[in-house]
Amino acid sequence: MRDQGTVIKNIDWVVVLLYLAMVLYGLVSIYASMYDPVDDLPIYSQALPSGRQLIWIGTSLVLIVFIGAIDSKFYEVFAYVIYIIVLLMLIAVLFVGKEKAGSKSWFGVGEFGIQPSEFAKFATSLALARYLSNPLVRLEKLKEILTAAAILGVPALLILAQNDTGSTLVFSIFIIPMFREGLSSAYPNLVIATVSLFILTLFVPQIALLAGIGILGLLVFFLMRKTIQNISILVVSLSIVSGVITGVDYFINNVLQPHQQSRIKVLIDPNIDPLGAGWNVTQSKIAIGSGGMIGKGFLQGTQTKFDFVPEQSTDFIFCTVGEEFGWIGSFLLVAMFITLFMRLIFLAERQKIKFARVYGYCVASILFFHFLINLGMTMGLFPVIGIPLPFFSYGGSSLWAFTILLFIFLKLDAHRTQILSRE
C-alpha cells in the first residue's frame, strides 16, 4: 500500500466527520423509532433494527477501508465494467429476486436482502462520469445527449420494471451533473416547467387553467410579430401545454397504479382518507409537528413508537428525529446535509480531472435528491415516494450503497494532486 498513508493524510476529513456524525445520529434515531419501553431492549440488541444497523455500520467501515485500498485509477478504468455488472444484476433480480412490499428488487440471503437498485446509482454515476470525461463530449450535439440519456435510461427502465418507482425517479437528478457539464439550460427549464404545470393542474381546475392558457396565447398572439414561423411555434406550444393539462387527469387515473394515485390525491387533500392512504402523511406530520422546538426527548416520543407503519425506521425515520429532537434536531439534520452538499460541490470543483468532477456532482446530486424527496414526503410536501434518507434510514443495502458512492469520490479526491490534469 504505497499510498495508504497519503489517503489518510489527504482524505477530506470534513466529509468523513459529517458522514460519521450522520450515521450515528441515524442509529440513535432508528433505536428511538423502534424502542419499546415494555421490552426495554438495549440499542445493540439484535432483536431491534438498531442492533442490525450497527452491523451494517460496522461492515460499511470495512467497505471504506477496501475502497481506500483500491487504486484510484481503478474506478475510471473499470467504470463501464462495473456498470455492465450492475445492469446484469438488475436483469437477474427480475427473474430470481424476492418480492418485498410489492417491489421485486431483492436478492434474499436469509434474513438479509441485497437490493441491486441501490448499487445502480453509483455504477451509473461512474459510467456517466466516464463518458463525460472525454474532453470532446460537451453535451452540445444531440447524439451526445442521447448517449448520456441512454446510460441513465437503461438502469432506470430496469428498476421501473421491478416496480420500484421511487428508485427510478432518482435517475432524473443526473440532469444536474449534465447541466454542470454543458447541457443547455433549456432542458432543466423544460423539466421545471413541466413539473410546475403538472402541480398547477392538480390544484387549479382544468377549465380555469385552459382558459388562462388561452388568454395568455391570445395576448402573445397580439403582441408578437405575426410571421408564419412564430404563429406555428405558438400553436404547437399551446397545443402541447393544453395536452399536458388535459393529459394529467388521464395520467393519474389510467397510467399510475392505484396506490400511486392515492398518494398524489392525498397530497392535495390529506383528509380524503385519513386512516387509509393519508395515514402515513397525517401520522408523519403529527409526529414531526408534536416535537415542538426542542422535542419530547430521547425515547420519549409517543407517535413513532409503534411498528404500525412498516417504514418506521426506514423511509419515515425523519419523523422520529422531528418528534424526539424537535426543530433544533431537524435543523441539525438539515444543516448537516446542506454542509455536506456544499462541501461536495467545493471538492468537485477542485478536481483536476473531468471524471472525478462529474462523479463528484453525481454524488452530491443523488444525495440531494434523496434528501429532497424523503424530507418533502414526511412533511407532506411531496407524494409518498419510498426512498431512504441517506445515512439515516435503516437498511444495509442503502447504507452500503451510499457509503460506496461517497467514499469512491473521497478516494478520487485524495489523489487529485498525484494525477496530472488530462484536460
Partner: protein
C-alpha cells in the same frame, strides 16, 4: 467565457441545494413551532399497544383426564405516572376493598419499579368482582385491568410432579425476561410447569388500540390488520395414570417415602407418589404465599420430593445388581453355592446353603458378602489394596451404567445424583493403599456409602424387567397436538450385562414373592410378580422398608419401586403396597380390599419408634457417611434452581 459560465453553473446548483434546505427549515419551523394543531392531534390520537396473554397449555394423564387446567382471573395494574395526585382515595378504597395505607404502600412499590411501566397493583380478582370494579375503574386514570389465568386442579394429586407457578422474580426477569416476560407474569417454578415452561407458555399477542386523551379506547387500529393473536401454549400429554396415582397417594397416608411405577418398555412414568404430599390447589391463586409458608414450615417437609431428592441405602434390592455383575465378570455362575456363614454379616433363617436363585429368593447376606468379594478381589494385583481399588473401579463402571450415582434425567427438575463414591473418597478417608475389601463390604448388601433415590430403584426394576436396558424415565410422552417427544427419552440405554445372566435372577425374584422374603398377602393369584425386598438400616430409627418388582414375569408392563421410611422389614410393608399398585394397574380395580385398608391404616409417622428393635445385621465397621436421606431435606423444592 465558457469557463466563466461553468463557474456560474456550479453556483446555480449550490444555490438550488441551499434553497431546498431553507425551504424545509421554514416549513419545519411552521409545523413544529408555530402550528399548534399537531400537538393537540398527538395527544388526542395515540395508539396503545395492548398485550394479549396466551392460554397456558393443559396437562393430561395417559387416559385423557385433565390433570391441570386454567381459571381466568384479573390483575389491576397501575402506571404511576398517570395516577392523578388528587385522586378520590376514599371511594377508590371502597371500590377495591382495601385500606388507604395499603394504596400508598403499593403505589410506592410500583413507583420504585417504574414510573412509566405498568406493574401489578391488586392480583387475581375473580370474574364476579371484576364486573363490579371494571366500569368504575375508568374514573381513576393510571389503573387498568389485565386478564390472566391461574392453574386449577380437579383433583388433589401429583403435586410434586406437576409443580406450581409463581410470579417471576426480579432476578429471573432480568436473566430471561426482556423478550418474553414482564413484571407480574407467572412462570413455572417447579415440576412439569418449570421443565416445560417454554412449551406451556405459548406466545403473547399484540393489539393496537386507538386511545383518546381520556384513555378511552376508540377501537382497533386499521381494522386490526397489524394485530397478532396470542398463540396458546402446547398441551402436555403425560403417561401418568390418575387412578393409579390416587391409589398410591391414598396408601401413602401417614407414611414417609415414595412409590414410583414405570412402564419398563418405554420408561414412561405411570405413577409418582411422594409421602407426605400436599394438595396442589394450595399453591395457586391469591393464597399462594400464605400456603407456601405453611408448607415450607411443616416439620414433615411436604414440599420435599422424596422420589427424586432422597437417596436411601437400597439394602437387599441391591443384591440383584451384585448378582448380575458377578455373572458378567465370570466370578460366579447360576450354580455357585455359598454357605450362609454368619461370621461377618448376620442373616435370617432360611434353607442353607443357597445357590444363586435361592440367594435372591431368601436374600442371603453372607452369600453376597462372598459374591462382592469375588467381584472386587480378582487377583489382578498382588497388592490387596491395589487389587481392591482395581476391582472397585471396574464395579463402579457397572454401577454407573445402571444409573447409580448420577441424575437419570427425568423431565422434572431438581433430581439428585444419589450416592456412589469414587476411589478418591476412600483414599481421602483412609489414605491411599489403606482400604481393602473389609473396608467396603457393607456395599455388598446395599448398605454403607451408597444412596439410591426411589427413581434409581425403579429404574433398576426396569432394567431387570427388560433384561438389560432402560429408557430414561419421563412423564411427558407428547407435547402439543403433534405429540412431540424430547429426543433423549427415545434413546435406549443398554447395560453391559448379557441377557442370559438375567434369567436366574428373575426366577429368584419370582420365588421371593411366591415363597420367600415377601409377605404372603402381597401375592396375586392370577399374575406372577417378580420382586426383591430390601430392609435398609439407617440412623433415623426403624429400618426402611423397600421393594422393587415388576409384573407380569413375561412381557412386563409395570415396574415399581416402593420405599416406606422407618416401617421395618421390606417384605411386610413395601412389597404389599407395590403389589396393590400392580393390581390396580393390571386389573383396574382392587380385589384385596382388606389388604388395601390394612395398608392405608398403617401409620409410620405419628407413632414415633426411635430405637431399632431388630438385631443389627451389619457390624458397623465403616462410618455410614452421607447415607442419611433426611440430610438432603434442607434443600427442599422451595429453593428451586
Amino acid at each position: 467565457m465558457l469557463f466563466l459560465m461553468f463557474e456560474q453553473r456550479s453556483k446555480i446548483i449550490g444555490f438550488v441545494f441551499l434553497l431546498a434546505g431553507v425551504v424545509f427549515l421554514a416549513k419545519l419551523f411552521y409545523l413544529q413551532v408555530i402550528d399548534q394543531t399537531y400537538k393537540d392531534a398527538a395527544t388526542s390520537n395515540s395508539l396503545h399497544k395492548v398485550l394479549e396473554y396466551p392460554y397456558r397449555g393443559l396437562i393430561y394423564d395417559r387416559k385423557g383426564r385433565l390433570l391441570v387446567n386454567n381459571i381466568p382471573v384479573y390483575d389491576i395494574m397501575v402506571t404511576p405516572r398517570d395516577v392523578k395526585k388528587n385522586m378520590d382515595t376514599l371511594n377508590f378504597c371502597r371500590l377495591l376493598g382495601i385500606e388507604k395505607e395499603e394504596v400508598r404502600e403499593k403505589l410506592l412499590t410500583a413507583r420504585m419499579y417504574s414510573r412509566v411501566k405498568p406493574s401489578p397493583f391488586i392480583r387475581q380478582i375473580s370474574h364476579t368482582d371484576l364486573a363490579r370494579i371494571a366500569d368504575r375503574l375508568i374514573e381513576y386514570p393510571g389503573f387498568s385491568i389485565e386478564p390472566r389465568t391461574v392453574r386449577g386442579y380437579d383433583h388433589n394429586n401429583l403435586a410434586h410432579m406437576l409443580g406450581y407457578m409463581a410470579e417471576i422474580s426480579p432476578e429471573k426477569l432480568k436473566k430471561l425476561g426482556k423478550g418474553f416476560y414482564r413484571p407480574g407474569d407467572y412462570i413455572g417454578i417447579s415440576g412439569l410447569e418449570s421443565q416445560y415452561e417454554k412449551y406451556l407458555r405459548g406466545k403473547r399477542g399484540v393489539k393496537f388500540v386507538m386511545v383518546d386523551v381520556h384513555g378511552v379506547q376508540k377501537g382497533s387500529f386499521k381494522g386490526g390488520i397489524l394485530d397478532t393473536a396470542a398463540i396458546r401454549g402446547e398441551n402436555l400429554y403425560t403417561s401418568i395414570d390418575l387412578e393409579l396415582q390416587k391409589l398410591g397417594e391414598q396408601v401413602m397416608v401417614n407414611k414417609k417415602g415414595a412409590i414410583i411405577c414405570i412402564e419398563p418398555k418405554t420408561g414412561q412414568v405411570l405413577a409418582f407418589v411422594v409421602g407426605p404430599s400436599y394438595d396442589p390447589n394450595l399453591l395457586r391463586g391469591r393464597e399462594f404465599s400464605k400456603n407456601y409458608t405453611m408448607l415450607f414450615k411443616d416439620s414433615m417437609k411436604p414440599l420435599f420430593n422424596r422420589g427424586l431428592q432422597a437417596p436411601y441405602p437400597p439394602g437387599s434390592i441391591f443384591k440383584t445388581f451384585q448378582a448380575l455383575v458377578a455373572q458378567q465378570e465370570g466370578v460366579i455362575d447360576s450354580n455357585t453355592i455359598i454357605p450362609c456363614t454368619r461370621e461377618v454379616v448376620n442373616c435370617h433363617p432360611h434353607p442353607n446353603p443357597c445357590n444363586l436363585r435361592t440367594s435372591i429368593q431368601w436374600s442371603c447376606n453372607p452369600y453376597y458378602l462372598n459374591v462382592y468379594r469375588r467381584i472386587i478381589n480378582q487377583n489382578k494385583s498382588k497388592n490387596t489394596y491395589l487389587d481392591t481399588r482395581i476391582g472397585y473401579e471396574k464395579w463402579k463402571l457397572y454401577a454407573e451404567a445402571f444409573g447409580f450415582g448420577s441424575r437419570l434425567g427425568i423431565d422434572v427438575p431438581n433430581e439428585v445424583k444419589g450416592i456412589l463414591k469414587s476411589p478418591k473418597y476412600y483414599n481421602k478417608i483412609y489414605g491411599e493403599n489403606h482400604w481393602k475389601y473389609s473396608t467396603i463390604y457393607s456395599l455388598s448388601i446395599g448398605q454403607g456409602e451408597l444412596g439410591l433415590t426411589p427413581l434409581q430403584m425403579v429404574n433398576l426394576a426396569c432394567i431387570l424387567a427388560n433384561k438389560g436396558y432402560y429408557y430414561t424415565p419421563h412423564l411427558v410422552r407428547g407435547i402439543g397436538e403433534k405429540r412431540l417427544i424430547i429426543r433423549k427419552y427415545l434413546e435406549k440405554h443398554v447395560v453391559p450385562v448379557d441377557e442370559k445372566y438375567f434369567e436366574t435372577i428373575l426366577t429368584g425374584m419370582r420365588w421371593a414373592v411366591q415363597m420367600g422374603t415377601v409377605w404372603s398377602s402381597a401375592r396375586m393369584k392370577s399374575v406372577i410378580i417378580c420382586g426383591k425386598t430390601g430392609t435398609a438400616q439407617n440412623p433415623h430409627g426403624k429400618d426402611h422398608s423397600i421393594f422393587i418388582g415388576f409384573a407380569p414375569k413375561e412381557n412386563p408392563t409395570i415396574a415399581v419401586a416402593c420405599v416406606v421410611e422407618n416401617s421395618g422389614f421390606g417384605g411386610f410393608v413395601a412389597a404389599p403396597i407395590a403389589s396393590l399398585m400392580i393390581e390396580q394397574y393390571l386389573k383396574d380395580t382392587i380385589e384385596r380390599k382388606n389388604l388395601l385398608e390394612h395398608m392405608i391404616s398403617r401409620d409410620f409417622i405419628h407413632k414415633a419408634i426411635p430405637v431399632p428393635k431388630e438385631p443389627e445385621k451389619v457390624k458397623p465397621v465403616t462410618p455410614v457417611a452421607d447415607s442419611k436421606p433426611a440430610k438432603k431435606e434442607d434443600e427442599g423444592p422451595g429453593n428451586s434452581n
